[in-house]
Every structure is written in C-alpha cells, then in structure tokens.
C-alpha cells in the first residue's frame, strides 16, 4: 500500500508525519490497522513541543487534500506543511486536532489510547479548542460511521451536560442536523467528508454552528479520553474554539470547494486565521502539544533544499559514489552535513570550494575527533557568496589515520591540521609543514585519543 | 672667577680647586638628575591619571630616586659570559663622560660659567657626538642581537640628526656672528631668537629630542621592539651610567636650548630684571624639560626608516632653507 510507505517516510520526517496521520485517518476508514499506529505515534511526538500554529495549518491542508485525494495527496500535504509553517494560524491547528479526533473515532483501540495522551497534554490549556473542532468533525463522521460513533455521541452528550452552555448545545444540534443532511448525500463515500465539512463550514459561519461544534467536541473529547478534565478545558476553551472553529470551517469549506488548489485554500485559511487571531492564539497555546509533532519535523526543511542542492551538484559533477552519507544535523542549527569517503575527501572539498554554485570560500573550523571505532575529521565551511554553511566530515581508520590535507585549498587549514596531528595523531598528506604545534616534537602520544596514557619518564 | 683660574699658573692648588668645583658641579647635576627623574615620573603620572612616586621620602616621593640609585649601586654586577669584557666595562664610561664634559661650556648666568669658550657651540656639538660611540660599543660588546640592533640604530640616528641640529643652529650663528654662547645670549637682549628664528627653533627641538634618544625618537632602546636596545645586557650601576648620561644630556640640551633660543638668563621683559638671572634661567630651563616630558607621554615611537627619511628629506632641507633665508634677510637689513 502506498499509504504504508508514506507512513514510514513520515516517521523520518516529523513534519510529514502529522499530515500523513491526518490522511491516514481518513484512509483508515477505508484501510486497515496500520493507520491506527501512525496517529498514536504522532501524539507522542506532539508532546515534545513545536509551534502549534504551524502544525495546525499543515493539518488543515492535509485534511482538505485528504478528503479529495488518494495516495498522491499524501505527498502533497508534506509540502503544504512547509508552506503552512510560514503562517501558523491557530485555527488550522484546531482543525488538525479535529481530524485526529475523527480518526480516533473511526479507528480501533489504539486510537482511543492516542486521544487519552492528547488529553494529558491538553491539560496544559487551550488544546480544548482544537479538540472541540475535532469533535465537531467527529460528529459528522459519526453519523456516517459505525457503532462506535454512536456510542461516542451519547457519551459526549453526558459530558456536555456537565458544562457546556445550553445554547451551544442547541446550536450544535442545529449544526448537526445540517451536517447530517449534507452527509446524507455523500455519506456513502468516506472521501467526501470534505463536502460535508464545506457544508458545515457554511453553516459554521453562523456563530451557532461554531458553538455547536464546540459542544460536540467537548463531548467527544470526554468520551475518547474519558477524562473529565479535558471536558472542562474544552468548556472553557469553547468560546475561543468557536471563533477558531469558524475560521477553520470557512477555510475547510473553501478548501473543499477548490480541492485542487491547496495553496489557495491555505491562503484563505491563513486569512481567516488572522481574523480569529486572539482565539487562535489561545488555541495554539493549548494545542501546542498536539501540534508539536508536525512543527518539529518541519524545522529541518529550511536547510533541506540546500542539502539537496549540494548533493545534486556533487552527484552531477563527480558521480554518486563519493558521498557516504548526508543529513541535516538538527542539533547543530540544522547545518547540512556531508560525510565524504576518505578517498574522495579532498576531491569533494576542492569541489565545494571551486564549484560556482557552491563556492565555499571560507574554512571556519577543522578538527578531529576520536570516536574509538574510527577517527573523524570535521570541517565547517562557509560560503560568503551564498551565505550558506556546510559541515564536511570524513571517517578514517583509527589505527593508521591518514587523510589528505586541505591546506592547499584553504591556507586557514594549516594550523588546525597541525593541531589535529599533534593531539590526535591524524596525518595529513601534502601538508607543507606538519608538526606538533602545541606540545612539541618530544611529546609521547596523542592526548586527545581516548586510549591516551600520559608518558612519564620516571615511572 | 673661573676665567681667572683658567688663566692662572698651573699648580697643585689650582688643580685642587678645579677638582673641587667639578665635584660640586657633578653633585649639582646628580641632584638635578635625581629630581628630573622624579619630575618626569610625577608629570607623566599626572598626565596619565597616576600618582607617581608617593611613598619614599614623604607624599611627594622625594627620595624615591635616591632609593632607586642605591638599589642600582647595590645590585650584583653581571657581565655576560660571551661579552667582550673590556669594551663592556668601558662603554658606560664613554657614554657618560662626554655628557658631563659639555656642561662646562654652558653659561648658566653671566657669572656662572666654567669655561667661556669662543667656540662653545661647536664644542658642545662635537663632544656630545661621542656618547654614541659609547652606545655602539655597549651594544657590540654585549654580544646580544637586540643590543647590536640598538647600537646600530643609535649610530644611524646620531649621524642623521647631528646634521639638521647643526644646520638649524647656523641661523642663530649667522645672526649673532659668533659661536660663543655668551655672545649668543647677549645678542638676545632685545628679542629672543625663538621669535627671529622660529623655524630653526622647531628643527632644533626635534633634532635635539632625537639626539637625546627620547620618545618619539627612542629607537636605540625601543623597549617594545628591541626589549631595551643597546643596554639590554647591562644592569646595576653600569646601566645606571647609561641612564645618567641620558638625563645629564637632557640637562645639557635643555640648557643649550635656553641659551640659544630663549635668551638664557635674560628676563622676559626688561622691567622684570630685578629677578636674578639664575631664576630666569631655571624657569626657561624647566619649561624645556617639561616640554620634553610632555613629548614623552604623548607621542608614539617613530619607525626607524621613517626616522631617517624625516631627517634627510624634511628636516635637513628645511634647515638649509632657513640658513639661506636668514642670510638673505641679514644682507638686506645690512643694506638698509
């Protein structure tokens, strides 16, 4: 299944996961168990943090697409997410949450677990808003779907009674009816949820609809998680959520209409989100946890294109057997990192310096490290032309560490290589004056090697 | 007084008197050096937000230099193993002796002078050049590369700056028509030569600072490049001799400047002539010394090659032009 593959990829890139999850859920209705796993993972990730806003948007986009499309859509959402980050309307987040909830309702036991986690997170606050939205969606779905959904509403209602405003309930009922009507037509196809949403959105514009959703959400959340706390939070957040929900609803409605134009949908969503600003902000604060997953994984992308470019250019000119590995180092301000093969290390460095598209004219840092399994030389290069950094690494044999010198390329590598030679014993070929720069030629051993024993004449 | 002695019959008594006078003069000069050093430290301290000496000898640190000199005299006398010993020992003496000899020709007042030489100015310039030999000798004998470089710089600098120094003074000599320092002072009865010969004065001051090896021309001992230059290997009282020579020259050069350009012991205005000449001389002299100290705390050190350039390409032409102009103006006035 293409859906399965997507899920795996998504795991690698956190951002993609959230979207994928959203898609997966929709699909889940159609598909098997695998989808169920994905959401739960997403939830875990969500706890970590990340900007809720960005995620929300991504989710929103994903939803729209998901509704309309098949597998291809799965790819699209990941791109959308990137774009979505730029804006980060809180409303969008709420939607994402909503989708998640819907999925949960549809899916099996695992989904139920996931929500409960969410609820924990939700305690922090405004997550409630997002949930509310999700609940609204869920309700729609529930109408269409099987038995579980039926149960959920009933539970929801119970919970709702505890708090939610009566008015909200009334509205919810109204909305639900409207939705039900809309769905009745489309109910046959799960993929037509979008339409349902669109319809709902239209209605949602009326404040009543939003409220209804909020109420519904409250119920659902209570049901899914079984946590009354959530319900409370939801209740509090309902007002906010309502505002956000409206915005979202509108967005979704539009999205549903223009299924093909994700971008437009996003733009619209963003605009709405801004309108909802205050409410959205609150929602974000709360929903942060839920949304965290997509945002975190979305981060690397600013430098991802650069890495892709480097790799492309290198492979175009030098062939593809020179690079051992390449990745974005998330811990180090997302610096694109290339691991060269020892025999091509100099060649790649030379290429990085002289290629017009790369132009790394500045060697910022060079040093070695003893990793016990191997030695590693780490070079940090900078291109003043393109304002881009790259880290070039090479793994070399620990027992006879020898590597080409970069001194002919950057004079600045002269002393650092001497230092690496002095402290680690790495020999640099073609270095004009490799000497023990710090300790002196009489020193025995290389202190930064992990197996270094100080030499003492008297012992 | 001294004139009479000079023209009297040689004898034990006369020798004794000369010796005694010389000793007195030496003590006076040592006294001056002691307090010149203190003054320099105090003035520089004042200019550099510091206190200067303030412990030994009361809050003005009046005995600080005495303590310093005592310390130097008590220090172990070290001579590097590979040094040229005889030269190493004699170098400080060669450097110091001329500085003391030149003082003899300087008239402090119309009465207080040791030797009224008709070629007093020439005598001063000729003798003062000898000190450089002491520096080069010391630099060479130390068998140290820094010292050698310092000694060589001293020689080059002396050769370069002696010339503008003499040339600048020629203007004064032209106006006076005499090399006798007493005559030169007398010729300034109405107006000082600093006003008649301003260009010469500026050239002279610059060249004299260079002759004194003081900032900004302290290249032979430039601490930051050559560590201490020609006297890097000296310590104790040998080193003290070099320092002594430097400060005695400061005394001599300030006196000479006073005599040549500031009217010697003559009062500023004639109605102020109730103040003794010695006081006037001291005031002007102190002004010059202060100027030298002021230079020291203000200027960075000039670079060796620029120093030569400056002497040969700027100071010398200016001094020559000054002579030329002076000669022309003097002839014109004569015709009038």
């Amino acid at each position: 299944m293409s859906g399965e593959k997507d899920l795996e990829q998504l795991k690698k890139e956190a951002a993609a996961k959230a979207k994928a999850a959203a898609l997966a859920k929709m699909k889940a209705k159609e598909l098997g168990e695998e989808k169920e796993e994905a959401p739960s993972e997403d939830l875990d990730i969500a706890k970590q943090k990340a900007a809720a806003a960005a995620k929300a948007k991504a989710a929103a986009l994903a939803k729209m697409k998901a509704k309309e499309q098949g597998e291809e859509k799965e790819e699209a959402p990941s791109e959308d997410l990137d774009i979505a980050k730029q804006k980060a309307a809180a409303a969008a987040k709420a939607k994402a949450a909503a989708l998640a909830k819907m999925k949960a309702k549809e899916q099996g036991e695992e989904k139920e677990e996931a929500p409960s986690e969410d609820l924990d997170i939700a305690k922090q606050k405004a997550a409630a808003a997002a949930k509310a939205k999700a609940a609204a969606l869920a309700k729609m779905k529930a109408k269409e779907q099987g038995e579980e959904k039926e149960e959920a509403p009933t539970e929801d209602l119970d919970i709702a009674k505890q708090k939610a405003a009566a008015a909200a309930k009334a509205k919810a009922a109204a909305a639900a009816k409207a939705k039900a009507a809309a769905q009745a037509n489309q109910s046959s196809e799960a993929g037509d949820d979008a339409k349902a949403k669109a319809a709902a959105a239209a209605k949602a514009k009326a404040a009543a609809a939003a409220k209804a959703k909020a109420a519904a959400l409250a119920k659902q959340s209570g049901e899914s998680g079984g946590d009354d706390e959530k319900a409370k939070a939801i209740a509090a957040a309902k007002a906010k959520a309502a505002a956000a929900a409206k915005a979202k609803a509108a967005a979704s409605a539009k999205a549903g209409g223009a299924a093909g134009d994700d971008e437009k949908a996003k733009a619209i969503a963003a605009a709405k989100a801004k309108a909802a600003a205050a409410a959205a902000a609150k929602a974000k604060a709360g929903g942060g946890t839920v949304k965290a997953e997509p945002a975190e994984e979305a981060k690397p992308s600013p430098n991802q294109p650069y890495l892709d470019k480097y790799i492309r250019v290198i492979e175009e000119h030098l062939g593809n057997d020179h690079i051992e590995d390449y990745y974005i180092n998330n811990l180090s301000k997302d610096v694109p990192t290339l691991v060269a093969k020892p025999e091509s290390y100099y060649k790649i460095a030379e290429f990085l310096k002289y290629n017009e598209q790369l132009g790394f004219d500045y060697l910022s840092e060079l040093h070695g490290t003893d990793f016990e399994t191997h030695m590693e030389v780490y070079v940090h290069l900078y291109s003043y032309k393109n304002s881009q950094s790259v880290a070039l690494k090479v793994k070399i044999d620990r027992d006879g560490p020898t590597i080409d010198s970069l001194q002919p390329l950057w004079e600045g590598a002269n002393w650092p290589e001497c230092e690496a030679y002095d402290l680690l014993g790495i020999k640099f070929n073609n270095h004009p004056n490799l000497h023990r720069i710090m300790l002196g030629e009489e020193w025995v051993g290389h202190p930064l090697r992990k197996d270094y024993e100080p030499y003492d004449v008297e012992v | 007084m001294v004139e009479d002695l000079l023209h009297s019959q040689p004898g034990i008594l006369n020798f004794g008197i000369f010796f005694l006078l010389a000793t007195v003069l030496l003590l006076v000069i040592l006294g001056f050096v002691t307090y010149a050093i203190l003054a320099e430290r105090k003035v520089m301290g004042f200019m550099q937000l510091r206190q200067g000496p303030n412990q030994v000898g009361g809050r003005w640190g009046l005995l600080q230099t005495v303590a310093d000199v005592l310390k130097l005299l008590l220090k172990e006398d070290t001579i590097p193993k590979l040094a040229d010993k005889p030269l190493f020992i004699i170098a400080p003496v060669i450097a110091f002796a001329p500085s003391f000899i030149v003082i003899a020709a300087i008239p402090f007042t119309d009465k207080l002078q040791f030797a009224d030489l008709n070629i007093g100015l020439l005598y001063y310039i000729a003798i003062s050049g000898l000190t450089t030999i002491g520096m080069v000798t010391g630099g060479w004998a130390s068998n140290n590369k820094y010292a050698l470089l310092g000694g060589m710089r001293a020689a080059a600098q002396m050769i370069s700056y002696e010339i503008p120094l003499v040339m600048s003074v020629l203007g004064v000599i032209l106006l006076t028509g005499s090399l006798n320092l007493n005559d030169i002072v007398a010729a300034q009865e109405n107006v000082w030569y600093i006003l008649l010969q301003p260009v010469a004065f500026i050239v002279f001051i610059i060249a004299s600072v260079a002759e004194l090896n003081r900032v900004p021309f302290d290249l032979p001992e430039s601490e930051n490049e050559l560590v201490a230059g020609f006297h890097v290997e000296y310590s104790g009282f040998r080193w003290a001799f070099f320092m002594l020579a430097e400060y005695v020259y400061m005394f001599a050069m300030a006196s000479l400047t006073t005599v040549l350009f500031l009217g010697g012991w003559l009062p500023l205005f004639s109605f102020l002539d109730f103040i003794p000449g010695a006081v006037w001389f001291a005031l002007k002299f102190m002004f010059v010394v202060f100027l030298l100290i002021w230079f020291r705390s203000t200027f960075p050190r000039i670079r060796a090659d620029k120093l030569m350039e400056f002497a040969w390409k700027i100071l010398l032409p200016i001094a020559l032009a000054n002579i030329f102009l002076t000669a022309i103006i003097k002839e014109i006035f004569k015709l009038l």
């Binding site: 002393w415 230092e419 | 560590v227 000039i302």
Partner: protein, 366 residues
Amino acid sequence: MLRTEEMLLNVGPQHPSTHGVFRLVLKIDGETIVEAKPVIGYLHRGTEKLAEDLQYTQIIPYTDRMDYVSAMTNNYVICHAVETMMDIKVPERAEYLRVIAMELGRVASHLVWFGTYLLDLGATSPLLYAFREREMIINMLNELSGARLTFNYMRVGGVKWDAPEGWIDKVREFVPYMHEQLKGYHMLVTGNEIFMNRVKGIGTYTKEDALNYSLSGANLRCTGVKWDLRKNEPYSIYDRFDFDVVTRETGDAWARYHVRLDEIEESLKILEQACEQFPAEGEILAKVPKIIKAPKGEAFVRIESPRGEIGCYIASDGKKEPYRLKFRRPSFYNLQILPKLLEGETIANLISILGAVDIILGEVDG
C-alpha cells in the same frame, strides 16, 4: 657593497610585545625580516582534554581562561552550544543580561587592545586612559558576577546571578561617558602623524587572503567583508538591536584600528538599546535538569567574539560530560597569516603587524 649576513633572532617567548608567551623565530637581514616562523604552545593547558572529564557546568570556568580579555563571550559560546543541542529556551531577562555582559566585555577587550597596541608603538599614555575606562567596566562586571576577569557568569539556560539593584542604570550612564572618552582617544591618537606612519599601509592583505587564511572579526572586516555573526547569523537576541557592521576597505593595520574603535561605538549602541529594553522582571535561569546531559549527537555553533569568530563543537554520547569538546579559537586562526605578513618587513613593523592582529595567547594555545 658590504658583505652582510642573515642572522636568527628569537623574539619571545619572553618579549614585551608578544602579549604573552608567543615566540617568533626571525631570520633577519639587518632589520629586514627574511623569514618568520611562529612557535606557539607555551600556554597550552589542554582545556579540551580536561573537559572530557568534566560536566558541562564545570567546563565554564575553563573557558574564562582561554580568551581572558573577553571571557564573557567564551562563557556564552559553550552555554550556547549546549543550549542548542538541548533546545533550551533561555529566559528573556537572562538573554539581556548576557548580551549586556558580552557587549561590555567587547568594549573592555577593544580598550585593552587599543591601549596595548599604542604601548607597543611606544605611546604610553593611551594605555592608561583605556585602562581607566576598562576598570569601570570590570567593576561593573565584578558587581554582576563577582569576578573581575574570570567571570564564570553564564550557565546553560541562563546566567548565574541577577543584576544587582541599580546596575542597569550604571551601564546606562556608562554609555554616554564612553562616547565622550572615545572622542578623546581620537584626538590623542587617531590624527597623530607618527601613529599614521606606523600603521598606514602596514600589514596589508586582500579580502581573498583574509578568507583564504580563515581570518575573522576585525581582521576580516578591515578588508571590506561585511560579516558579523551578530548580524548575519543572529544568536541570542542580537536581532533586536539596531547596529552596524563596521568595515574598512584598505586591509591594513590602520583599517583594523578604525574597525575596532568604531566597534566600540556599535557595542555602545547595543548597550544603550539593551538597557532600554531590559525587562523589569523575569527568570534568569531556564528550567534545566540538575545534571545537564546533552543529547547524543554533535553540534557546532559559532558566535562573534571581540577577536573574531569563536566556535564550540560538542560531540556528546548522551552522558553528562562531553565526549569531545573543541573550541574554534579566533586568535589561533587569525595568527596564521602572520608569517606571510612579516616577510620583507622591518622589525619595527613586526610590532605594528603583530599588535594589529590582536591575539590573546591563552586563546591561541587553548
């Protein structure tokens, strides 16, 4: 022609103008340098080796001793590296304290450079003036951190001490005072003919050379490269301040002198704004675990120290000590160009060139 002979001259490791235990083996012909060979390592203390057995917080005092003239930036770079790895959000107030401390340190560092450089050139007074102002800064930092030079002030996640009462006002008052003093410096030194003779056109290199030799800081900016990590890769809260990156085009010691003095002005601008924006309340230390453990992986961060680009590389295996710690020490890289610059120069120029590079031996030797 006289027969002349080249001779070897050891400058340092004990020499008044090498700013520490730096040694140069010169081959000279008269006073002209034919070849210069720098020898370093006299102050190598093995900070990186020591750090492998220390917890992150324990390493911070060691960084004080690398660039002992501007220890605050050293403090910052290691904290910043760990924070980057652990993704710690530093509280606002702490960031402001850090920036103020670092900028004060930058001013102090440039003042020391100004004073000692002029002293190298034979002028004694500027040193005393520069140190008067520096003393005020050091007193302020002393009040802040409890130490005059080795501050050990920053921690992973924030700073150790909050600003004492009225401290910010002191900094605020210092800014206009320093502006005034700078004018005095310019009057005393900048226009001086002798000084210009010593620095103008001395130690010139091109932009290409500067990049090739991995120069950074004022040594790079003096060739016209508009590059300052505070501006180009903003860290901490530097993107909130309005300041310029000072550059000069000529690439000589004169340009470096101007870049540094003007950088004092820019730092004062930052200080002024930071004091304005300084939050009245707030935490000074983020919630960090008692024992700091950087996640498994590696990170390299670089920031702008007064001497250039100071970087910190940490490879962590998830334990409380770094697996490998490496500092990119700007003086070490900046000094590499020295032999090239000295060739054919005189000994007097050696001092102006070496001084203008602005090295700190503690940093060169690591």
